[in-house]
Every structure is written in structure tokens, then in C-alpha cells.
Amino acid sequence: MSRIAGCFTRLAEAGQTALIPYVVAGDPGPEVTVELMHRLVAEGADILELGVPFSDPMSEGPVIQLAHERALAHGVSLRDAIGMVRRFREQDDSTPVLLMGYANPVEHMGYAAFADAASAAGVDALLTVDIPPEEAEPVNRELQRAGMDNIFLVAPTTPTERIARIAERASGFLYYVSLKGVTGAGHLDTAEVAERIALMRQHSSLPVAVGFGIKDAATARAVAAVADGVVVGSALIQAMATALEQGGDHAAAMDAATGLLAEIRRGVSAAAS
């Protein structure tokens, strides 16, 4: 069983929801990321989602766009992100890590070369925002060969009959985009999310994680009540950016992110009890 499947199974047995923080590899600096990953795990992260910096992050709101720009200013690449996971694995062999990014850096590296390098480094899965199922066959083949999961998005606009087709190609979990919009948008409708997740469960037995628009303990708790996983990205990245703007150093930025994650962890866990 993959690390991701094992994680969801274990949490389901304990009646818990997975907490999945998202940070961008190399933001705010390349030396921060591995330590930040360990600290997020210490504060209750169950799965880590590491963003791969890209020059044109089309699905991101302003907060995560700036994170990509900060990482790119340090020249952080897809290979660097894989290297960070390799170093993370030196001390943590159990927490699942997935890379989330855009097609071009992966395509440029080559799907086979990527799958080999990423799986050797201990990366568990790939989520490419702009590779829908229609375009996924070539990358899927390589991920499967390397024993990695391929995470697909399901959106509020996804027709019912399409959910099953997406689920056929997906493994690990389904990532439900909770709103029409970009990351960090502020109009999450939890009742609608609950309805959509119920529909997804009719068409797939994969766990469902929800992302986009979850920013604090209250929204995390509401979503955790209906989902198997909760993804938090923009809120953590904004907390780090704010700490840096206020004159804090990288340690202060990490404190801000882990402090917020601890709060959100309490919200997520409260949903289970």
C-alpha cells in the first residue's frame, strides 16, 4: 500500500481527517523548506503538499503567485524540489509527500526522468493542475511504473458522469476544488461542498481531500466534517509573508506558519469528536 493510501486508511480507522498543508518549495528561501516540512509534521500535518515553483502559475491567487516568485528569485527548480524531499526523507520515512505544480517543468524534465527521480527521492504523488484526465495518459503511465500516485482535481463544474472517469485514472485521493476560482479565494460554501462530496462518494471509493478557500480553524472544521482531507495553502503562506513584512526572519516566518497550522489542526480534530 502506498504511503498516501496507508495514511488515509489509518486516519479513517481513527475517525480522523487528514490535514494537508501546502507550501512552495523554496519560499521564502530554499534553506527553509526541509525544516519547515518537519515542523509542519510536528504540528499535526498528516500529508505534505509541496508546490513546485513555476513562472506562470495560472490557477493561483495573489498570495501563492508571490510565493512562486520568491522561490524563483532563488532559482528553485523542479529538481531542487525533488532534492528537498530527498533530504526530508533522511529523517521522516512515513509522512506522505506530494508535489503539486504545472505541466511544463515536468514535461521539460521528461515524464520518465521525473518519475524515476521523484520516486527515488521518496515523493509519493504528483498533482499537475493543468493536466486534466484527457492529457494525462503519458504521465500516468510513468507514475504508475514508478509506483507513484496521480492526484486529480474535481471541480464544482465537473459533470457527474465525468467524476467516475476522473476517479478511474486517479489514485491516492481525489482533490476537490471547493470553489470556482483561484487558490486563496474567499467564497467557500461548505453546504455545497458537502453535497458535492456526497456525489463524489457515489462514483469513487477514493478518499476526498478539499482545497482552495480554507483559511482558518473554523472553515477547516466545517470541511473536515464532510471530507477525508483538508488542504491549507494560502493562509499559511500569507502568515509567513506577513511575518517577514513585519521584519521577522525565516524562523519567525516558520513560527507563524506552524502556529496557524496548530490552530487549524485543533479545528480539524474537533470535527472528528
Binding site: 513562472s55 516568485e69 504545472y102 511544463n104 514535461e107 484527457e134 486529480f152 463544474t157 470556482k180 476560482g181
Partner: protein, 410 residues
């Protein structure tokens, strides 16, 4: 316009692209977030239905005739041709269209699609502002709400077009992310579309983006080549020996080339922006110096670094300043049907001045790239041969840029 797609009985290579998945060989496709997949499917279904609908075609043809002012003339540049002494050069006068460029052929078509879909709001990306102006123009005519995304850098460089769009009732939204130019404006337009997909139609300005855009923009622009083909036969009794057009995203070029693709005797040259020279890396010539990759919804040739990050581009012409190119051009390059070449900034500027002085026609800096190469090509050919150059836009918008380069301040 759409006859190219619907009435073709020839099952040759060129009428089979894109395939059902929107691919031109290995290029094209639909590389977008899941949220947009339904909207793209809906657009494709509507377009395929309307393209075969006689009433829709009549509606579009009437707009092209009475609003855009088509057909545009095919003009023999006699003095310029005489100076060169080689092949005769004919100019397809897209600069005489309403709003001054070929862009309006496409916005008129897409706005009609928006109207048929019942969308009340249209959005567009723009670089130099020509596509933004063409979109704002048709939005004003149809009473649609219009927002145009434009890189902050381009807003500064193209203040006149920004004001033009405002006069037309559009809102111009400066984009401050990334390199603050056309590619970032396109990113921001995609972000807006994913947020407002229910009531918004995204009018993409070139033959790029996810399927079905490269196909439908091509079909709307093919009116250029269909007219040029008929005009060549009427005026010269035969088809041209060569076609020349500039290529940024590539919509004016595909519009001219496509109706001639099956005519083996017609050579075709797509002219990319060489900027300061391809060797300097300061250019916008992905077909000449780039490699395949995925950006803005399709697989195509891109200017990218060794990590797959999209590179900054440079061209004196804002309309060619884009790191990608339409996927059909990528395919036409690979199969060898079209030759892709470059003209550098200085060559384009020289052509701008030449045509203005010798013919009394001030070309857009984009089109000046095509003219620069056509001049060189004509010199290698005989006076019995003739070339059709797509004069895709007029140069009024570039007067400030040219003046600045010549050291003149107003």
C-alpha cells in the same frame, strides 16, 4: 469564415487538424485546470453547431461586410516592388479594417458566440492593446460588459490604446504579476475566467490557448486567406508564389496561410520577432529558437530555460512579444509546410520607414517584420513571380515607439 472547416470535401492532411482532442500532431490539446473543462466542452459544442448553421454564417458575413469593411483590398506595392526589382509584392490590407488590424475578424466572431451563449460579460488579454481595442469595440456594439487584462508594463507603453478602450466603455485591469506583459495578462484572464466561468466569455486574441480556441480563431481569421486567394486569381490569373506574414501568437499568419495549405506551389514564410538577434536571447522567436512545452492550455514551441520556466521575451513590437506560438504553427513547422524565419528589430524598423515613404502606407511594427523579410525574399525572385504579404495592421499606434527610437519627443 467557417466554410474552411465545414464545407471542405478534401480529406487531405490539413483538414484533419485539429483532431477530436484538439491536437495538431503532438501539439495543442487542453492543458487547463479541471474547473474550465466543462466550459471548453460547451464552447466547442456550440461552435461546431453554429459553424454549420447558415443563419450564423449570414450574421457573421454581414458583420464582416458592413461593420469590419471587408473584403480588404489586395494592393500591388508598385513603387516598392520596382525599387527591389525582384518579385512583385502585393499587400493584403488588413490595416484598413475597422479598428485598424486583423484582430477584429476574430472578435466579431467570438462576440457572436458569446451572444449565442447568453453571456453578458466578455474578457480579453492584450499586449499592445489591439486585441483589447477590438474586443472593447465589439462589446460596445453588442452592449456587453468588457474587462481587458493588460500587463502593467504594457499599460504604461500603450497609454493611447488604454484610453481608447476606456472611451469604448471597457475597464482595463493592469496586471502586476510576473513579467507584467502579455503572457501575464493571459494568466490573469484565465484566473478571471475560472472564477466567473458561469457568466463570462473569454475572447482569446490569437490561435493559442486550449482547444477549441486555436481552431475557432483560425477559422474566423481564414477570411483573410480566402479573399487573398480569390483576389490573386482574379488579378493575376494564378496563385502567388509565396506568402509572408508575421508570427507572434500567429493568428494573422494562419488566417492567410490556411486556405493555401493544399496549394503545393505556394511557399509560405512565417516571420518571428528576432528582437536584438536570436543569438542574444533577447527575442520572441520560439519556433526558431525554442523547444516544445506546455503553456496557456496547449503544447507548442516555447521560449523556456533548462528548468522549464518561461523566459522573458523582447521585441520592439508589443504584439509579437510573447514566448509561445499557436500549436498549428508548431505542427506546420515540424511537417515542413511553412518556413519560419526571423526579422530583427532594426530590420522591422527599416521596413516601417520604407513602406511609409515609398507607398504612403504606415504599417504596424508587427507587420513590418513580415515586410522586412518579404523585401529580402523578393530580391531573390524574378519579376514574373509575386508575393502576398499580410499587412496585418496599421502603424498609427506605433508612432510613439518609433519617435522614441528616433530620439524625438513630443
Amino acid at each position: 469564415m467557417v466554410q474552411a472547416m465545414t464545407s471542405s470535401t478534401d480529406e487531405s492532411l490539413y483538414s484533419t487538424v485539429p483532431d477530436a482532442d484538439g491536437r495538431f500532431g503532438v501539439y495543442g490539446g487542453k492543458f487547463v485546470a479541471e474547473t474550465l473543462m466543462s466550459a471548453l466542452r460547451e464552447l466547442e459544442e456550440l461552435y461546431v453547431r453554429l459553424a454549420a448553421d447558415a443563419d450564423f454564417r449570414r450574421e457573421l458575413d454581414a458583420d464582416l461586410a458592413h461593420y469590419v469593411g471587408r473584403p480588404s483590398p489586395l494592393y500591388e506595392a508598385t513603387r516598392w516592388s520596382d525599387t527591389i526589382g525582384g518579385a512583385r509584392i502585393y499587400l493584403k490590407r488588413e490595416d484598413l479594417n475597422h479598428t485598424g488590424a486583423h484582430k477584429v475578424n476574430n472578435t466579431v466572431g467570438q462576440a457572436l458566440l458569446a451572444k449565442h451563449m447568453g453571456k453578458r460579460r466578455v474578457i480579453a488579454e492584450t499586449g499592445a492593446g489591439q486585441h483589447g481595442v477590438a474586443t472593447a469595440t465589439i462589446a460596445a456594439r453588442l452592449g456587453l460588459q468588457c474587462q481587458v487584462f493588460m500587463g502593467e508594463e504594457d499599460v504604461r507603453r500603450q497609454a493611447l490604446n488604454v484610453y481608447r478602450m476606456k472611451l469604448l466603455g471597457a475597464e482595463v485591469i493592469p496586471v502586476t504579476s510576473g513579467s507584467r506583459t502579455l503572457k501575464d495578462a493571459m494568466n490573469e484572464a484565465m484566473r478571471d475566467w475560472v472564477t466567473n466561468v458561469d457568466d463570462t466569455f473569454y475572447i482569446i486574441g490569437t490561435v493559442a490557448g486550449p482547444h477549441p480556441y486555436p481552431m475557432l480563431v483560425r477559422d474566423f481569421q481564414c477570411v483573410i486567406g480566402r479573399e487573398a486567394r480569390a483576389q490573386s486569381l482574379e488579378r493575376c490569373g494564378r496563385l502567388p508564389d509565396a506568402l509572408v506574414a508575421c508570427v507572434g501568437g500567429g493568428s494573422n499568419a494562419i488566417g492567410l496561410f490556411h486556405p493555401f495549405l493544399k496549394d503545393d506551389s505556394v511557399a509560405m514564410y512565417g516571420v518571428e520577432a528576432g528582437g536584438y538577434g536570436v543569438a542574444t536571447n533577447q527575442h520572441a522567436a520560439p519556433l526558431t529558437a525554442g523547444t516544445p512545452g506546455v503553456l496557456h492550455g496547449n503544447r507548442t514551441y516555447l521560449m523556456q530555460d533548462t528548468d522549464g520556466q518561461i523566459m522573458h521575451t523582447h521585441s520592439v513590437s508589443a504584439g509579437l512579444d510573447y514566448p509561445g506560438v499557436g500549436p498549428e504553427h508548431a505542427w506546420l513547422k515540424d511537417i515542413g509546410r511553412v518556413h519560419y524565419v526571423v526579422a530583427n528589430d532594426d530590420e522591422a524598423l527599416a521596413a516601417f520607414h520604407t513602406l511609409t515613404k515609398v507607398e504612403g502606407i504606415m504599417p504596424a511594427l508587427e507587420s513590418s517584420h513580415a515586410l522586412a523579410y518579404a523585401g529580402k525574399l523578393a530580391a531573390t525572385m524574378s519579376p514574373e513571380q509575386f508575393i502576398v504579404v499580410n499587412l496585418s495592421g496599421r502603424g498609427d499606434k506605433d508612432i510613439h515607439t518609433v519617435a522614441q527610437i528616433d530620439g524625438i519627443e513630443f
